[in-house]
Symmetry: C2
């Protein structure tokens, strides 16, 4: 039976409690819009008559203040820089909220609440060279970026009023990127976002029912793509997007920032391989990745049920009103099929 | 103080329990990607060498089966057609699930569950003419489309295993549309999607605390855009997107399909005006709208707390990893500012 004739299926996983519709027939629908020309990152912005890229080595003065660089004592030969975002979504200068007054009631009758936009918004520049993208680095080069995330999260942890840290990467204009130079971002929030609390509750429920951590126990049978010493890459059972891929630690760990140097190099290798496979198979698609960690200040009783992972999403289609309205995604590619394809990608 | 200098704010409303970051400074950030050329709907697909549009009058035979048309006894002079989607996300032919077995456990150890993809997926063709878009119709023309939604929902209600009906519209390629001929869609689901259950819980909580319906009580002070006899249009307090607009009935009503003919004409006028204002102000942006109604089979004790509304979202930017990761949106435009601008749009 060709995949497109398969019956649709509604799936839900115990990690996010997320409902998806798997519907292969959807991939056949026609379009009378001209196909989007994929905006490719410029490899050399200045030859284009565009201003110099502030993230390139030599243009450090065009950036917002640096937080740290790696190696620490490097000068023009830095490998990774963590800087403040010049156009931050949240402000590090606002008065820190008091503990017992998280939100203030903006309009009691209407039930509206608001809170000053305190928080941190940083940029991680992953390479000094404009044309070098994350998977072009060596495994230990990628590990350098992963360890910069860790170090920055540890610093943010020390700020009492920060409850959650979201690390994410946008690659390519249709994945939301406004800058083409390889980078990722970190936003530290004074509240726990809804996805993180839903995930925490869902993982807790699974743990209550089974006594086990859901991600230590994950179903890999037909869904495994690759494995390294400490990590696996899989197509998740309830994939919301075609070729959505997760990288999950094989050891139990609630917080990303518990990563040590050895494991970072191992993870660097698997992340590089995964991004390369997606690029070869899907023709250098725009993509996002997100590190899903646990809220910073969970109780010790919550530690056994929570487990961090990285979600990688190639951006192959535009979502529509159904997804916006319901929060439920329609995915034309069964994850079993995506895993098989990605398992078998021949690397050049 | 110019809006861009305003401090960021984190807001949450009692309707959806949705957290957003309002951050005017974000609107100033540069981009080194070339700006997307807005894919405009083709006004005449055949002159383009493209195949004839199946939604145009005369091409009815190229479509999946018709469910009904309006007027009922029209021939080539139909105004609205409701047809089956030829590439449906869910299948109307799958065996209906039994009541006590909503999901079946796909892999008990992993906590994964799945359900056959039973459901309905229809298309509403809003005009027989390719170049006529929804707001080009008269108020009673728009009402004809709104009443077609109502009639179809009433039919779907009669199917026991359907729990929720999502009506939505995609206009323009970057809002996800694959067809440029003016249309909307209806998907009827055998499960209640997460946004609808979160909304139900949030509205119930507000009702428990105040004894009132949150949307009957909505804060309109600086957020009102327009009003008609039975409806208001507002910028919601916790707008997730720039110029997000809601149309809310001024009378209490849990289910969209309670709409009667008089109110449909009134709503048709306000929806037309709102879409025209967004088009004038934002230069014919791609957009989505979603009708947020209540689950079909709620208890009578839930009727006083739930209230339907229409959410209209112009698609002005691409979301990134932060929104995908956290479910929290960064919006550079304060809703008070959007409401003022939309209130004052001069209609040509
Ligand atoms: N000289 C400089 N010094 C320091 N920082 C500089 C700088 N010049 C630019 N920046 C910052 O660099 C960042 C580059 O980020 P990305 O390209 O990943 O996407 P961006 O955050 O713009 O928006 C995407 O991601 C966000 C978050 O997901 C979405 O809200 C949005 O819609 C989507 O387009 C921007 O945040 C910008 O503010
Ligand atoms: N001859 C014919 N007869 C009957 N029906 C026909 C037909 N030819 C095409 N169709 C259907 O017409 C519909 C047109 O819908 P839209 O243009 O609103 O977006 P689409 O559903 O393709 O996807 C957008 O909306 C969905 C739901 O939000 C998202 O999953 C997706 O990513 C986004 O691009 C399609 O669903 C298609 O299957």
């Amino acid at each position: 039976m060709s995949p497109a004739n398969r019956n649709p299926e509604i799936r839900k996983d115990a990690v996010n409690n997320r409902t998806v519709i798997l519907s292969p027939a959807r991939s056949l629908r026609p379009s009378d819009f001209k196909s989007k020309s994929q905006a490719k990152p410029d490899s050399n912005p200045s030859s284009d008559g565009q201003p110099q890229c502030p993230f390139c080595s030599g243009n450090e003065h065009q950036c917002a203040p640096e937080i740290f660089r790696s190696p620490e004592d490097s000068t023009s030969d830095w490998k990774v820089r963590v800087i403040e975002n010049l156009y931050p979504a949240l402000s590090r200068d606002l008065k820190v909220k008091s503990d017992d007054d998280e939100y203030c009631q903006a309009d009691v009758t209407a039930g509206d609440v608001s809170l000053g936009g305190f928080g941190f918004h940083d940029v991680i520049i992953e390479s000094p060279v404009h044309s070098v993208h994350l998977p072009d680095l060596t495994s230990s080069g990628v590990a350098g970026v992963l360890l910069a995330y860790k170090k920055r999260i540890e610093q943010l942890c020390a700020v009492d009023s920060i409850s959650y840290v979201q690390v994410f990467k946008n690659h390519g204009a249709s994945a939301g990127a406004s800058m083409s130079h390889s980078h990722s971002q970190i936003i530290a929030l004074p509240v726990i976002p809804s996805t993180a609390s839903t995930r925490l509750n869902s993982m807790k429920e699974y743990h209550n029912q089974t006594g086990k951590c859901v991600l230590c126990n994950i179903h890999t049978n037909k869904l495994l793509i690759d494995e390294s010493t400490h990590f696996i890459s899989i197509s998740p059972f309830a994939s919301a997007f075609p070729f959505e891929t997760w990288i999950v630690p094989r050891y139990h760990s609630s917080h990303y920032h518990e990563l040590d140097e050895d494991k970072a190099i191992d993870l660097g290798g698997l992340l590089k391989l995964t991004l390369q496979k997606l690029s070869v198979q899907l023709n250098d698609p725009p993509y996002n990745y997100m590190i899903h960690t646990s809220p910073l200040r969970i109780t010790s009783s919550q530690l056994p049920c929570t487990h961090w992972y990285i979600q990688i999403v190639p951006q192959l289609s535009t979502i529509g009103g159904f997804e916006m309205g319901t929060g439920c995604y329609i995915n034309p590619v069964f994850p079993e099929d995506a895993a098989k394809i990605l398992r078998e990608v021949e690397m050049p």
